[in-house]
């Protein structure tokens, strides 16, 4: 470390009270920013759980669909028409709907039922117990072992329950990439059994999932689907569409944004004010340094170093604290929806840099203006 920066470092950390106050301000701001954005990211991630778990490359739906759960059924001819589009390797229908399961103890439990194409079982989950071909047995269902699994009484292979007076038997226990957002267990069965067991509208295909022959075919497929009056979205586009709905049409995004802004303002207030006081208290000393022969750019580098060091330390502590809290929360609450993403970390990092820049700007202005003569004059 350059000597002048070592002096800056010692001036900063040896003033323990102020350094602690600075760290608390920045750590608190980072903690709040990371927590808020992580919870938001977790909610958005889970809101697209079906899209992620099924894993299809292209999804066809009614253009009015905003979320996976609120599908608008399409007539069967759309599936035929999609299959005939050049560039489609194969296309299958998917059922997605909600139902009430009556458990052996008489309790009713909401469930999400995914109906997979009978022929291909495209989008099937990976099983941790049971055989996938057993899904073709009478009344067969596969249950997902996620945080909602205990709500069905933690069923085992052979466990039974009812949906609309139909007997259902668990033939497999599966794992998926991510659990759902709405706190209900997920069941997989065949498409035909799903539409047979669950009361449905005139049309029954919730989504058509497509495997294109190549990625070059995607624009043409989308264009042809649009000509049918429907919308074809890639997996990423569908996830983005669902995310945008929650961000911009539910108030969730606005609330998170507000909380993030408040966190930023709180962090900036505490850190900015403390750093300003720190600079004011050391102003005479900076003036003395100038009188001794320190150049303006050396004093500026000292302040920028102090601000950057505090910001990075606070950032590390804030991220660590948020990570710890999320990890502990997930241990205690399996369905806790929070996800730290690189984007969240980058966003918090930029916010911290802004806090450091504003705080140090005030200090730099003061130090640049101090005249060594003022030190003589007292």
């Amino acid at each position: 470390m350059k000597g002048i920066l070592k002096i800056a470092y010692k001036l900063l950390v040896n003033d323990r009270g102020k350094f602690a106050a600075l760290l608390v301000g920045i750590t608190f701001a980072v903690f709040l920013i990371v927590m808020m954005t992580s919870m938001f990211a977790g909610i958005l991630y889970r809101s697209s759980s079906t899209v992620i778990n099924i894993g299809a490359k292209i999804w066809v739906m009614d253009p009015a669909v905003n979320t996976v759960a609120n599908s608008i059924p399409m007539p069967d001819y759309v599936l035929d028409a999609v299959r005939s589009i050049n560039g489609v390797k194969y296309a299958v229908g998917l059922y997605s709907g909600g139902a009430l399961a009556k458990l052996p103890n008489g309790v009713y439990q909401s469930v999400t039922v995914i109906g997979l194409d009978d022929a291909s079982l495209y989008g099937r989950p990976s099983l941790i117990e049971g055989q996938i071909e057993d899904i073709f047995a009478d009344n067969a269902f596969i249950v997902v072992k996620d945080s909602e699994f205990p709500k069905l009484g933690s069923p085992r292979l052979g466990s039974e329950f009812e949906i609309n007076d139909h007997r259902c038997v668990i033939v497999g226990i599966a794992k998926v990439t991510t659990g759902g957002l709405f706190g209900v267990p997920t069941l997989y069965t065949t498409y035909n059994r799903a539409i047979q067991y669950i009361p449905s509208t005139r049309y029954t295909v919730s989504y058509i999932t497509i495997e294109p022959k190549s990625s070059d075919a995607v624009p043409y497929i989308k264009q042809q689907v649009k000509a049918l009056g429907y919308e074809a979205l890639t997996k990423e586009e569908f996830i983005r569409k669902v995310s945008n709905f929650y961000k911009y049409q539910t108030g969730l995004g606005t609330n998170v944004l507000l909380m993030t802004v408040i966190s930023f303002v709180v962090g900036l207030s505490i850190s900015g004010q403390t750093f300003y006081t720190f600079i004011l208290e050391n102003l005479e000393k900076f003036g003395a340094l100038k009188a001794i022969g320190a150049k303006g750019k050396e004093l500026v580098s000292m302040i920028l170093f102090q601000a950057a060091f505090t910001a990075l330390t606070g950032y590390g502590l804030g991220v660590g604290l948020a990570s710890l809290l999320i990890a502990v929360a997930k241990l205690r609450l399996p369905n806790y929806a929070a996800k730290i993403t690189f984007e969240n970390l980058a966003f918090a990092f930029v916010m911290v840099l802004v806090i450091a820049a504003i705080s140090s700007y005030i200090g730099v202005r003061k130090v640049i203006k101090i005249e060594p003569f003022d030190i003589f004059r007292g």
Binding site: M1, G3, I4, K6, I7, K10, L11, N14, D15, E284, K285, G287, A288, L289, K290, A291, I292, G293, A294, K295, G296, E298, E371, P372, F373, I375, F376, R377, G378
Partner: protein
């Protein structure tokens, strides 16, 4: 014949503009020599500190010249004037202006660090200077734990650290009792002053006039007289 250390020519400095203008220094000229201890004495507001600031490269005069080692210092660009202060002038401020959050030795090392010496070497040289001023055993204490006289010695060690040709003391005895003040100035005279160094002290403490080689008296921004120092100086 003594060598010229500082030559001030017709220095003028005022503060404020229009009706608020105050003349601080009115056309002052004087010379200071190597091997000499020059005292500038005068009442408050007489322009002593302003004059000191102009000759040490801290305060730009409105007119006049300051020549040090054949250079007109106020013709130097910004960074070079800072280098001039760092390499040629050693300051001992009235309130010392030591950094309370650094140790004594780190305070002394500051000019060396500004001269781009590495940290360990700066500390090593600073320790030698603390030895010279007699407080080597206080090196790793915070300045606030030192007495006033010891803090003054730290400030002297810091000023000495960059081996300056000219040392400037602003009211060095103002915060010290009479005995300590005399001991400090005696130390400066016997251990800091040499034939390659000029010492200029601003003071109005007549108890230390005996240590001056010359005493320059100021009043109302002008020099009103220069006299020899020594035992009989008042």
């Amino acid at each position: 014949m003594a060598r010229l250390a500082v030559s001030a020519k017709e220095l003028v400095k005022w503060f404020g503009e229009g009706e608020a203008r105050t003349m601080a220094v009115r056309g002052v000229s004087f010379d200071a020599y190597f091997g000499e201890m020059l005292f500038i004495e005068g009442p408050s507001g007489s322009g002593k500190t302003t004059l000191l600031s102009m000759i040490s490269g801290i305060l730009r005069p409105n007119s006049g010249k300051v020549i040090v080692e054949d250079r007109e210092i106020w013709e130097l660009p910004g960074d070079q004037i800072a280098d001039f202060r760092l390499n040629t002038v050693g300051f001992v401020f009235q309130d010392y202006h030591l950094f309370p959050k650094l140790t004594t030795v780190e305070n002394v090392a500051i000019p060396l660090i500004l001269k781009k010496l590495d940290w360990e070497e700066s500390i090593s040289v600073a320790l030698r200077h603390l030895e010279i001023v007699g407080i080597r055993d206080r090196a790793y204490l915070a300045p606030v734990k030192l007495s006033g006289g010891e803090q003054q010695r730290v400030a002297i060690a810091r000023a000495l650290a960059s081996s300056p040709d000219i040392m400037i003391f602003d009211e060095p005895t103002a915060s010290l009792d009479g005995d300590t003040g005399r001991r400090i100035v005696d130390f400066v005279k016997t251990s800091v002053l040499n034939e390659n160094r000029s010492i200029i002290i601003v003071t109005h403490d007549s108890r230390i006039f005996e240590y001056a080689d010359r005493i320059m008296r100021m009043e109302d921004g002008k020099i009103i007289g220069v006299e020899k120092g020594g035992q009989n100086a008042q």
